[in-house]
Structure formats: C-alpha cells, structure tokens
Amino acid sequence: MVDRGSMGPAPNRKRLLILVAALVLLFLFPTVLPRFYVYMAAIVLVYGLAATSLNLALGFGGLYQFHHAVFYGVGAYGAALLMMKTGLSPWLGFVVGPLVATLLGLVMGLICIRLSKLYFGMLQISLGSLVWAIVYRWYSFTGGDDGIHGVPVPDLISSSSNAYYFTLIVTLVSMYVMHRILKAPFGSVLQGIRDNPVRSEMIGVNVRRHQLMALVIASFFAGVAGSLFVAVDSTVFPDMLFWTLSMEMVIMCLLGGWLTFMGPMLGAAVIVALRTFVSTYTVYWALVLGIIMMLVIFFLPEGVLGWLIQLSRGKGRTKAEEGDAREDVSQGDR
C-alpha cells in the first residue's frame, strides 16, 4: 500500500539543508544588511503572513474573501490602541490585536457565510467598508484620517533589528501552524469543499461550519500580521483597512501562486521588492503593478510558484512524485 508519510531520504535531506540555509540567511539579515533593507524584509514578512492567511480562505477554502485587509487593519489597530491608550503591558497588544481581529472574523463570518461566491464577497466588502468608515471617522478614539503615530512598542523590540527578529519568529511560528492545519484532515476537507461543496456535503461534512472556521483562522493570522506591522512601523492608519489593500493581498496570492502554500509569501516579496525598486524611478507604481497583473492573469494564472511546479511536473508523473515535489518546495522554502 502507499505510504504517503515518507519521502526518499535523498530529497528529504536536500530540502532540509535548503530550509536550514534559508533560515540561517533570514536570521543573519540584520547583521549584514543596512537598516532600510532589514525594515523592508520585516515588511515582506508581515505582508506575506497576511497574504498567506488570506490564501487559507481564498486559495485553499475557495471563499471569495474580498476584504481581508479589514482583519489585518483591525488587528493592527487593536494592538496600537492598547499600547497607546491603556497602561497595560504593550506585549498584550500582540495578543489583543489578533483576538479582536478573530472576533470580527467570527461576527462577519456568521453574517456572510450563508451567502455564496460573489454575494459573500460583496457582503464582506460592505461590512468591511462599514468598519473602515467607523475607524476613519472616530477621530477621538482611532485618530481618524491621521492614524496613530509613534505607538509605544515594547522597548525590547523598538530597534529595527529586534523588531525584525520578533517579526521573523512570530511569522515562522504562524506559518508553521497554518501549514500544519492545512496538512491535517481539516485542510483536506477544506480543499474538498473548495473543489466540490456538494460532494462534501454528501460525505457528511457540514460545509458552512468548516468554512466559518477557515474564515476565523484566516482572520486570526491576519490580525497577527497587523499587530506585527505595529511592531515594525509603530504606526497605524485607516488605509490598512481600505479595500485596495485587500485587492493587493489578493494580487500577492495570485502572483505567487494561490494553490500553493508558500506562493503568497513569494508574491508578497515580489510585490514589496518591485514597489520599492520601481518607486525610485517613477511615481507610477500603480501603472506598473496593473500591467504586471494583466501579464500574470493572461500568462501565469497559476502564479510564479505554480508555474515552477508545473514545469517540474512534466508528463506522466504520478501524483506521488508531484506531491513530493510540491511538498519539497513548500518545506524547502519555509
């Protein structure tokens, strides 16, 4: 019988080596790179985490998650407001932010989940816009249009490199947990629901409830990403909840490959790097992004990572080999 649990020793060791090398590199960044690049790397991690959490609902769950930025933004505001307005330990911000985001995810999920596809997405956009409008207008509490600057993050992570390390560790843990969830039965069922909700119902799966859970998990990790942004940048602003950011996150997922686990992180890295690079030459970054998107939609609908996997797939390979290759890639880049 097929033992899906093990892979050949040679590829496993090679992947493990790459993984270790990548991790070492990531940890060495602050010592070799100037501060600006360390900051950029932290931003990549934050957006990558947010995009990965989005992809849990979108790519793996098949939900039309059109306004994910709300949870990201609410997580950030939750953390920032706690640090600014209460005398509690600022470390609590990193707990409260995600919790508030998760709560919002649960509430919005309960409201939206009875609808399907486009209607789900549109209702989420309306609810999200409502939240945005509240944050935007509540000047006395959230700083309104100005946002909040100079949030007092814990001293330990106030330096650029320490903030980076903190972000790196939290992101790695979060990615690991999400990966675990997707590899577990819940993940299989979720993908089954994505591909065939009717069939899933007929094998005894309560589709709505599983989708709701996926939504809640996705909003939790988005909240984590949001609070990490506060750690890195010490600011929050209403645009973090605006629908254009949600679209950008979707772009990251698509660009990297929304059927893969590491795709969104890759997409985030590409987008952030490109934006930084392009912005030094021209102010028309949106134009460049739009054109890139069109190219991706037409020629690379599976995303960069998806395309690479397809390349390595070739003809006639069985899923076992392909599955190994896919798992290799996702583990190797972790």
């Binding site: 549109m122 816009s129 254009t244």
Partner: protein, 282 residues
C-alpha cells in the same frame, strides 16, 4: 445635494449593473472610467472656452471617449476572458483601474480640476419653504429618469437587449442560433462604460475633479448594484435612492458617523434578500 449625487450614482451603477448582470464581469474599473469621464469633460470644456457649448460638447464627448477606451479594452483583452472565473475577471478589472488611475495622473496631473456649470443651469430656484435648490440639480433630476427609461427600453425592448439577456443565461445556445454573441457582449460592455463616463461628465460641474474619485465611488456603485439586483436597471435606481437617502439622513442625524448609514442599509437588505431587492439575472 444628496439628490444630485443619487442621480449620478444611479447612472454609474446602472452601467455597472448591466455589465455585471449580463456579462458577469465585476468591473472594478468602472470607477476609473467615471473619473476619466470627468477629466475628459474638463478638457473638452476647457478647450472650448468653458462656456455652455463646452458643457454640452463635454456631455456628449466624454462618454463617447470613455466608450472608445472601453471598446479597445474589451476587444483587446476582455473578450478572451469571459470563460474565466469571477476572481480573475475582478482582478483584471482591478488591474485596469490601477492603470487608468495612473494614466489619468500622467495625462492630467495631480491638481484639482474644476468644470464650470453652464450659464443656463447656474443659479438657484427657491423650493418648498424657500430652500434654494440648484438649477443644475433640477437638470440632473430630469436626466436621471430619462436615462433610466432609455436603458430599460434598451434592455427589454430592443433586439440587442433581448439577445444580451438570453446570452447571459446561455451563451452557447445563442451563438448556435447564429448570432454573433461576441459583438453583443462588446456592445453591452461599451454601453455600460459609456454610462460611467456620462456619470463622470455630469458630476464634473458639481465637484472638484480629482484623483481618487474612483475609489470611493466604485464601492458605492457595487453596493448599490448588489442591493438592487444584478442586471436590473430599476434595481440600480432603487439602490441609488436608498443609498443616497440613508446617506443624507445619516449625516443629518449623526454628522460624525452618518456615512455608516448607507453601508448598514446594504447589510440589512442583503441579510433579508441576498440576491438584491429586485429580480437579478443571476
């Protein structure tokens, strides 16, 4: 004030409703086309000296200009993607909105532009109890229903409208009967975008024409369309009315958070009638 915005919203939303209802494209670029319409109106008006002639020329020229742009996009790109999933179409139109946004910045620059109200519509008319009502708004109040009726006639009365509605449901069947579905879709798309341009041209004299006018509008347009029922012209009208009314009411009653009211209204409607208030084509 709220009423004029309502009319504009209706015109733009009806175009979006058409595209979404018949072609199943969530056209995020609709807001950008509206903005382009406004900017084109500015240019035409400025080029003809800013007088009344300029206004009428702009009213005709800007929507046509936008229609041309949309035709190019449709023939060049969209027509190959009708079979793709909604997410891809949505992202493609979002890409267009990004491109258009920056193109506008490139061509027209970032400062506020203004379009003068034509002389014949300037001034106010005293209305119930002496409240001054801008004549231009009266003009809009006439244009709105006219557009609604024309559109309704187009969709329900003309051959093209009937074909489009049939094709929305079963494209293959319609094609098999020998009709060039591709051109029907193109026409519907262009008409929808023309409406966005018209909305932009109409709004230009009443607000400052700026970058970013697309962003808030597109959300409102989408919500109106969903609230009213996809593909339903009267639905767009109803939705726009509800939206405009709740917004005005909200700002009156609770100035700080009044803008929440329309969003809340949409949520309430969607909870009870998920496919919209009136019949949708989906």
């Amino acid at each position: 004030m709220g009423l004029s915005r309502t009319v504009i919203l209706f015109i733009v939303s009806s175009g979006l409703s058409l595209i979404l209802g018949v072609l199943r494209i969530p056209n995020v670029a609709h807001g950008s086309l509206y903005m382009i319409g406004a900017f084109m109106a500015f240019t035409i008006s400025k080029a003809t000296g800013g007088g009344s002639l300029g206004f009428w020329l702009a009213l005709v020229g800007a929507p046509l200009g936008v229609a041309l742009v949309s035709l190019i996009c449709e023939r060049g790109m969209f027509q190959y993607l009708y079979e793709r999933e909604h997410l891809m179409l949505l992202l493609l139109t979002f890409a267009f909105s990004l491109v258009f946004g920056d193109l506008v910045k490139l061509v027209w620059g970032g400062e506020y532009k203004s379009v003068p109200v034509p002389a014949v519509f300037q001034g106010f008319v005293p209305l119930f109890g002496g409240l001054p009502f801008p004549i231009y708004n009266l003009f809009l109040l006439i244009v709105g229903p006219v557009v609604a009726v024309l559109l309704w006639f187009l969709v329900n009365g003309t051959r093209i409208g009937k074909i489009a509605r049939a094709a929305a449901v079963d494209r293959e069947m319609v094609g098999a009967v020998g009709i060039n579905v591709s051109w029907v879709f193109a026409s519907i798309f262009v008409i929808g975008c023309l409406l966005a341009g018209l909305g932009g041209a109409l709004v230009a004299p009443t607000v400052s024409v700026t970058l970013g006018m697309d962003h808030t509008l597109i959300i409102e347009a989408f919500l109106i369309v969903i609230m009213g029922g996809l593909g339903n012209v009267w639905g767009a009208l109803l939705g726009a009315l509800i939206f405009g009314l709740t917004q005005s009411l909200g700002i009156l009653v609770w100035p700080q958070f009044g803008i929440i009211f329309p969003y809340a209204a949409v949520i309430v409607v969607l909870l009870f009638r998920p496919t919209g208030l009136l019949r949708s084509t989906w």
